[in-house]
Structure formats: structure tokens, C-alpha cells
Assembly symmetry: D3
């Protein structure tokens, strides 16, 4: 990056909680390095991921308010800014207007790295819909002729974070990210989402599992600790580098 | 890497010339950084890649001597050490003995990065045979119980370099390596192989082509020059890192 | 299944005849076991699969009436209930309204098993469109917050039935279903579709072919008869079981 | 082909310049054989592929006029007819109306061969959108009941031309087309597009590269010249033939 | 199965411990149903999976004896018979003699179900080697003309058990097996392998993870308990059945 | 082809009967055009494909003699020359000597087109073994330095013929060959193999099925007859051509 701009991570997710479980470590690493992190939630997950609240008789507006507050707390715990587009879920409907809002966010934020859902998920159609819009908006934001404020976007790399059933979503890890130093912050962010308490341990176990794999792929010589914690990502585009490692 | 050992790149190729066309840039970058680079040629390519010499009536021994000298010159131009196992080509036959020799090289060299051919090539069976042996030896060298001198190997990442017809070999670039600063050294190394002069321009054009793609994937903001030159690689194992970029 | 509800098979197809050729055996097996089977036809196939009627000068309404009656007869021959959504074909257009109607059907029928088209078909875009809607509606029907009558749906398994040119549709059989005991009922159902008489033998031959493969995969020890008839299916989701067989 | 109609090639592309870089050779070969070639440009590429003009302060209408004229000149150089649908780019939006226009073109042109973009392109969403519409319209045009003038279409083969980063678009060449005799006409057509002058050499180099591969796959015995030039294509449907070659 | 023979499960693994971590649940379920289970270990994993013992200075024979005893204990805990072929590991070398021994075991055991490793594993070449031999022997045992005692084998289904890094081994679960009722026996079997104590929790966590996915794919209506434990398998051949479920 | 040599088709198959069922049409078309066709059978299929004869108590030598005679008759019916390498089946073992014999056949025959088995077949390991040797020998025969009589081979295209269970063998037809004019000769050749009488109708049905698909892919305008018969093939290498069709 040639500019003096603070490096920025942009996370685009379908529902309010997704970024915590799946990318909390990457976010905490970025903000821990003094970078900016912005999370965009296309919906609150109010219909599809709030079964407990519906069974408790909450109204739609109440549920959205709860989910918003929880997500704000989790973002704060990770040091990230958060914005809610309130586009509705189950289904999250792809529209030109929503894509245009994302283009404007890209142009404003000028992210150096983008995180979103993978493109396949037979368990949840909102996830691929969010990913398709995130990717389309990124390409549109690159076009000199696209009518939106700001400069044409560069080509920030895109990483897909891990879905709930990775193998069924054609998710094969390309990158194992060492989140050991920030795992406690990720855990605190998860604990901001009390309605999904069963997920706290599930995603802690997953971080351990990815950590074991990370150590195995890094080699014992690297001296990584036994309690290494990891997050897995896929790349959409080839890595650009000047050193193979 | 925790040791004070000089970082080392190990390149295992089927024939004497392969490392020049396909990985010359990566080698020159490594040696340019003060690292070690070792090239292992399983054969000289004496039968399968020396048509011109055969048509000129050279004997097998003459051809091997020519190919050896050319490859030594090319390695020198890249600053790399080179070793010839003289295992024969067309076909390069996989044997336990040859794999064992490679295990011993791994144990001795303790490479931090390994380069070899991709696993599929319908035009040249020696290339996948070399890759299979290189990969098998790497895993064997990791085993505490494998009977060979030296310490068990760590888990150095493996990169496949680009084959002649990438799409037919299921080669999809995962990494685009910027070789601009060392391209003139790669060109000089190519020019050490006069029998394949038609390849000099072919691989220069390929480097330009990969450079164009590298710039596109890096984004215009990075300020890469128009004459960026590149090499493409695939990863066998996931990247291990503590920063997404 | 824990409830005392009669097990129910739901078949969602693009055109009026699809369920007969491709899933007639599965339907007849289910109804033969005393289960319910419901077929939903998104269109009549009035434009895309009625060439003979168009050439004979029939009007659109006449063709729809003919196709409706034929499909009703075929469903009756298989013991299935049938419903026509009359959403139009060539193209079958995906709309939120149509998906919502399917959600309501899922909630009402509470199917234990779902059959639909595979997701790829370069010969007929209506088939994947029907499948996408069938799958999206199934996921929406599972959401507690989705505003439609009935209880949230469970997770009924989904099977894709066989397309006309399976290899070109990435159709690889995961399940070979033995339809020998009901093949005569399938044949009778096929004969309810006189406009496509050339298909009767075509799909009888296919059932034989799949039967040969079924016997080969089952092993000779199972004592299956030489005239075993089969239908092939793909699974979208992993099989859940407590015995490997 | 049984009719006496002049064989016709139909090329459907997203933007005004695509047909030149990617299919100019195939077009020139066809017109050189006395066949008809028709190019349909869904947009001018006015927003997404005219960065230089935008930076120079041109208006949208000016840019569209420039792109139109350039594309007309290039089509003329190739001996092809050209039609612009002016449907807008970045994004090119899929609509039933646009598909219907394509159906009518298919019915009118009755193409014997169809060329379009491949279905995946993570760098440019307009390309797959154009391809999806081109393919959907082709299938709709085959239906006797589709309400548009003309006879139902046959089943012309579809070829995908080569994208800018083939491996990232899952583009694996199925066909290597020898364009040596018409390459000078392709070069002249490219030179009708002065705003993209850097592409002239890029696509000349690509033609050389595909030519090298063509010679390798054809075998030395065929006596192809060293400066053989090629274009690569993928088939969507299996080849139909009465001779294996 | 038409014979009165007791149903038999055959497990073919590369190393002494593999069957415990990866298929202990399936084995315990089978023996719990009164079926027979036979485990064949091609090697003891003496070189590649006994790092701790090597570091402790044990000899090869000592390590083999330790591994044998541990595996016998684990098999006993699961109610399975076990046989060691002592063919050596790292590398496990494929030979006609070893395949022939497996053919004879197939002919003798007449398994109804076969479990083995998946065919890809970039971390451990012995696993695919074991799988290739297991599969080749199964096909040979089916041939009337293969010269070995016993009757030609039927066509028992083959399931691949889960490797350590499933996504890197192209492992996509086709079957989720509910091992809840026997998980305590699997845990006891794991505890028979004290040298790999870190694996006890790792594979307990994995069983939980697969259990969560199993419940999600089964649907909430099935009333599966929250602590459902699972094992994942791939099928090599299509399932043969007379009911879709 | 530039030489005046009669065009030659080379068919390399694992067992004596394979060429009849799977490539009989292609062979009859070639010989019907006045070309040469040579069939090489690596084994007689004496162990793996002669169950009936084994059950009838025939000896190995008797079975080989029967299979030889039947295959000779079938080859004669197709107008092809046939050679038996008698390398043994179940398993067909890959050896350097066998590959060398194939190299010599390539050099002698100088085929213009090569047919063999596809590379995957989970039902029969001899088929991929034959294919691997056929492909390796073809590449070796191209090398100027390979020590065998004759000139270096060109690059004849390779087609894989259709296996028994195509979808399980990753067989996706790239080419549909119209064998209508020679189908009666293929049928007569099949009838030379009385021990496999159940296959006569099976492969007649398959030819009809591929014929239906052929007509669909060719388009109704081509005027192909309703009883079009077909064979399906995959290409290993891209097609080289100067006309898209």
C-alpha cells in the first residue's frame, strides 16, 4: 500500500452474529495492530437465527433491537466499527440498491482486505447471497465509470471465512490464521451473544482444531505452543507476494 | 523459523532445465536475499528433452554431459547450488532408493521452502513422478523413526511451479510472485540453455503475462510498474500466517 | 421420526411430466408402503415440452388443460396427490411469491423426504430454477421467524432425481433405488402421457440400466433378480444413520 | 446442416471490445470462408472498461459513442455485422426483456455456432451475466411454444472464448483453433481499439502461446509452421461427429 | 444378505491406531449389534507414528511390541478381532504379495461392510497406499478366476473414515453415523493408546462436532439429544436401497 | 496428416472383449472409410471376466484360448487387426517391459488416433492400469532419445471410451460419435462373444441412449433419423482444428 492511510479490514456478513464466530480472531488481530476494522451486517438475522427469541414470543422489532445491541457489544469487544443495513433476512434479497450501498461503503472505507462468506452454503441461502453482493460491489467499486462518490477501488484481497459445515460448503482452507494472542478477546466477543451460548464452546473447540492443524502445517520447528488457536480462510484471488513462504 | 540457520530453498525437478524456466525467479529472489538455494535434478532430461542433440547424432553420454554443464551454468547464474541424481528419464522410474536419497537430502538441507512440479501432466509423466517422490520423501523425512542421518524434518511449505500447459495440468495459480527485480538474472540463466533458445522468449512472454495478472490482483494502488514480471505457483498445503494479506 | 404423522414424500418439479419419468418409482414405493406422496408442478411445461401440441395448432389454454389432465392421471396411477402452481415455463421465473407458496406447502405437508431436480442442466433452465426455489423454500420453512402458518420445518433429506443427460448435468448417482416391485405401476403412469410415447421405452431402458448397476453394486450374493429395475438419485445433504450399510 | 442457408456465427458479448480480443480469429476464419458472422454487444463497456476516457473527463454519451465507433470498425475489419443492445454495464443487469431480445435474434439469425463468455469470472460479473443470458435465450428459442417470430431454433454448439485470467475462471481449453491465416486481420481489428493499445501485444502474445500449444497437441508430423497462432475455446455441449479426430 | 452368516465388518488400516480414532464408533456399534468386526493393521505405525518412543530411545522391535499390545487392547475394548500384517510403514510399500494376503482375508471373512482410509492424504502417504491395496484386493477377490481359497466375494459397500485434516484430503462426509450409544466404549478404546493422549480429547471434540452436524442434518424433529456424538464417512460406491431416507 | 500413410486407429484395451462393447462403432467407421484399425489386448480377461467358464470348470489355458478366438472373430467382424500381449489380468500389473512393448507398437503403427480406457474405474483396476500404460507409452514413443526402432511419434489424439458405470468413473462425454451406419457390424461383432450374451442388448440399449443424446445435441435441423445410434468418448487433450463446429 502506497498511501499513508491506516490499513482497513472490511467484513461483510449476512447476519448480526456471523462476524464474531467466524472472523473474530482476524478482526482482533487487525485492531490489535492498530488497523481499522469495519463490520457491515446486511441483516440482524432476525428471522432465521433467533429461534429462541421467537419461541419466547418477542416481536420482530424487539428481536432486531436485541440482535443489534449484542452485535454492537461484540464489535466493541473486538475494537471494530459496525454498521447495520437492515436489509432483512430469510431471505436476504439481492437488489441493485443494496449492492449500490455496498459500493459506496467500499469507496468510502477503501479496504485493504475484505472478509465475507463463501459462495456455497446449502444450509443457509443468505450467506451466499451476502457473498455475491459483497463481491459484485467490490468489482463495481473498481470501475472508473461507476457513479458513486470517491475514487475507484484498488483490488483488495478477499478471504472467505469458515461456514458451519465446511465440507458441505466446498470450504477447503487456504490459510490458517494464528489467532492465539487474541483468542481471549474473541471469546469475550462471543460471550456478548448470550442467546447462542452453545456456540461459545463449539467455536472454541473449532479454534483449537484449526490450531492443531496450523501447528501441523507450520512444522514443529516453529515452536508454536500446544494451545495454538486458529481460524481458517479461503482465498478468492491468488496471493500476490514477493516472497514464497 | 527459530534456528539461526540460513533459510534454504530446495527445488526438486525431473530434468536438468526445468528449474530455470519455471522457478528461476523464485531462486534468484531467494539468493538475492542472502538465502541458500539448492536444486536437485533427478535426471538430465537426456532422452526426452534433447531432441536436437539426438538428431545431431550425439551419444547418450555426450548429451548428459552437455545438459549437466548447461544446468550448472544456469544454477550459477541464479546463485544456486545444484546436484544431479542421474536417475534416468523417459521414463523417470520411481524407486525406494531414489526416494531414500531425497529423504537424506531433506534431512541434510533442512529446507524452509520446497519447490517441485505439479502432480498432473498429461504431456510428461516424468514431472508427476518427480513430484510424487519429492512429496513422499518430504513426509518420510518428518518421521522420527525413518532411518537416515539428521533430525526429523519440520513441515516446509511446498509450492508447485508452472507447467508448460497449465490448464491441462489442473494448474490454477494460488500465488503470483513478483520477480521484477531479478528477471534479468532469470533471463541470463535461460540463456545458459542454448539448445532451447525458442524457450527464452516463450518464458519471457509468460513472465510478462503473469506480471499483468499480478498487477491486476494487486490493485492499481500498489504502484507496481507496467513491466512487472511474475511467476505463478500453487500451494499444496494451506498457508500458515498471523496476518491476512 | 418421532410423531405419529403418516410419512410424507414431497416432489417438486418444474413441469407436469417430470415426476413420472424421473421419480415414478420412488413415489410408487412410498404410496405402496402406505405413505403419502404429494407432487407440486410449478408449471405445465406448456411452452417448452409440448412441441407436438403446438405444431398441431393447439392454444396455450388447451395445452395447459391437456397437460394437467395427463399429469393428474399419472399421479393417480402412482397413488399421489398433485398440485399445479401454474407459474409458467420457458422460462420458469423465480419470484419471492412463488418461493413463499412453496414455504407454505412445506409447512403444511411437513415432508419427511423431498425430491426435486438437480441444480445444473445446460439443456433446460427451468429445472435448476425449480430446484433452487425448492431448496430455498425448504430452508426458509425451517426458520422460526418466517411468517407463514404452521410449525418450523425439520430437516427432511433432499434427493435429486435423474436428468435426461446425467453426465452433462454433473449427476453422479449416490443412491440406486430398487423399484422392481413397482415398475409396472411406473410404466402405467408413463402411459398416461401419450404425447411423449417415445419416452416410455426410453425410461424403461433407463430403469433396466440402473437396475443392472444396482445389482452390480449390491453384489451377486444379494440374490436380486436379473430384471431388477432402478432409479438413480443424488443426495444434497449427508445421510444420517445409525448403521453403515 | 441440411438447409441451403449460409452458415452463420453468432457472438454474444458483454462489452463492445470483447469479441475482438477473444474471438477475432474465429470470426475472421468464418467470414473468410464466406460465412456470416454477427456480433451482439449487450453494452458498450462504457463504465467498466473505459477508465482512460473517464479520467479524460468524457461524458457517458461521448464514451458510448467512441466505443460504438471503435467496435464497428473492428467488426468491419473482421467482416462481421454488429448490433449494440445498449443494456448498460457495471453491472450488466439480467432482465426478461433482454433475454427476449436475444431469443428474437437467435430466431432471426438461426446461428450454426454460438460464441460467448465462460460462466465464471471473479474479475468481471458482466461476463457471466452475458453468458447466462446468451445460454438461456438459446434454450428458450428452441421451444415451439415460446412466443417470438420465426421457427424453433436447432441446437447450435456453444463455445466459450478465453477470459483474461483463464485459470481463475475455470477455463480449460477444449479446442485450440488455428487462426494463423487470419491473424493479420485480427491484429488489424485490435488496432481499431486505440484506447486499449496495451492489449494489442498482450493478445498477440497470447495467440503465439496458444499457437505453441496447438502445435504441441497437433504433433510435429502435421507440419504446422513455427509461428502458428491460436485461440482457445471451451465447449458447453459434447461435440457431435461421425469421425474421431 | 441372503446367507445365515453373521454380518461382518472389515476394517483395513495402515497403522495400528488408525481404527480407534476414526472408526471406533462404527466398530462398537457393529459388535454391539452382535455382528463380527475384524481389524487388519498393515503395519504398527512403528516409524511414522511413534515419535515419542523413538525420542525415548526404544528399539524398533520394542516399539512394534508396544504398538501391538496397545492396539490389541483397543480392539478388545471395541469387541473386535485384530490381525497385524507387519508390512512396515513410512513407507508402507504396495506389493502384489500384500494385496494377495488381503484378497485371502476378504475371501475368508466375507465382509458385509468394509472401512478404510480415503484415497488422498498429502500428510501421510501410507494411508492412501493402504486404501489402494484394500480396494484392489476387494475387486480381485470378486473374480471367479482369482486363485485363492474361498468363494468369489460379493460387492460389500466401502466407507472411507475421516482423516486428520479432512478438507485437505478431499473428504466430504456422505454419511454421519450416530455413535452416541457407544461413545463411552470408543473413549475407553482411545484410552488404550496412552502415547497419544493428546488425541483423546481431540477425537472426543471431533465426535461432538460431527454430532452437532448430525443433529442439524437430521432435523430437530428427530429428538436427538444435545450430546449426540458422530463419526463421518464417505461412500466409494452408490448406496443400494429400497427406500429413500 | 501430411504423409501418404493410410490413417490408422490404435485401440489399447485391458481385456479381450473391451474393444467390442465400447469402441466397436468407432472401429467399424474407421475400417469402413478404408483406414486401418489395430486392437491391442493386454490380457484375455481370463480371470476377471470369465466367471461362467470358471464355473464350468475350464482351465486357465482353455479360457484364454476361448477368449482369444472370440476376440479374433469380433475383430474380424469389425475389419480390425488384433494382437494379444497376454500380460495377465486381475491384476494387470504395470511393468516397464509391458510399457516398452507398447512403445514399440506405437512406433511401428504410427497411429493417427488412439482409443483406450478412462483413468478411473472403481470397479475394475485393470482398466485404469491399461490406460496409464497406454498413455505413458505414447509419451515415451514421442521422445527422440527413447531407444526403440522407428521414428519419434507425433501427437495422436487420445479418446477414452465409455466404461460400464460412466458416472462412477468421472466419465463425461466430450464427443458423441454417430455410429448408425455401422451399428449392424458392431452388433455382429458383439455376437461373436457368446459368453456375454446379456451384454448384447445392454450395449444396444446404450447405443440407442447415446443416439438420443446425439440427436438432441446435434439439433433437430440436422435431420438425423430417430434410430440414430451413438458411442460416447472423452478427450484427454484439447481438440486441434481450423473450424469451430
Amino acid at each position: 500500500m502506497t498511501s499513508a492511510k491506516t490499513p482497513t479490514l472490511l467484513v461483510i456478513s449476512a447476519h448480526a452474529g456471523d462476524f464474531v464466530w467466524r472472523a473474530g480472531g482476524a478482526i482482533a488481530l487487525a485492531t490489535g495492530r492498530g488497523e481499522l476494522a469495519k463490520v457491515v451486517c446486511l441483516s440482524f438475522g432476525e428471522r432465521g437465527e433467533s429461534a429462541k427469541a421467537w419461541r419466547a414470543g418477542r416481536t420482530l422489532d424487539e428481536i432486531k433491537a436485541i440482535r443489534r445491541e449484542e452485535a454492537q457489544n461484540a464489535a466493541a469487544a473486538l475494537g471494530a466499527e459496525i454498521e447495520f443495513l437492515d436489509a432483512g433476512d430469510y431471505p436476504l434479497v439481492e437488489t441493485p440498491e443494496l449492492v449500490d450501498r455496498l459500493v459506496r461503503i467500499y469507496r468510502e472505507v477503501e479496504p485493504d482486505v475484505v472478509l465475507t462468506h463463501p459462495l456455497a452454503d446449502p444450509y443457509n441461502g443468505d450467506h451466499p447471497a451476502a457473498a455475491r453482493m459483497a463481491l459484485q460491489a467490490r468489482v463495481l467499486a473498481q470501475a472508473a465509470g461507476y457513479d458513486a462518490p470517491g475514487e475507484p477501488l484498488g483490488a483488495p484481497p478477499v478471504f472467505f471465512f469458515e461456514p458451519h459445515q465446511p465440507e458441505q460448503c466446498d470450504f477447503k482452507p487456504d490459510v490458517l490464521l494464528d489467532i492465539t494472542p487474541v483468542f481471549d478477546r474473541k471469546r469475550k466477543a462471543m460471550e456478548c451473544l448470550p442467546a447462542q451460548q452453545h456456540m461459545w464452546d463449539y467455536y472454541t473447540d473449532l479454534a483449537k482444531r484449526r490450531g492443531v492443524q496450523l501447528r501441523r502445517n507450520a512444522g514443529p520447528n516453529l515452536g508454536l505452543p500446544h494451545d495454538t488457536m486458529g481460524e481458517a480462510y479461503m482465498r478468492l484471488y491468488p496471493q500476490v507476494t514477493d516472497v514464497l513462504a
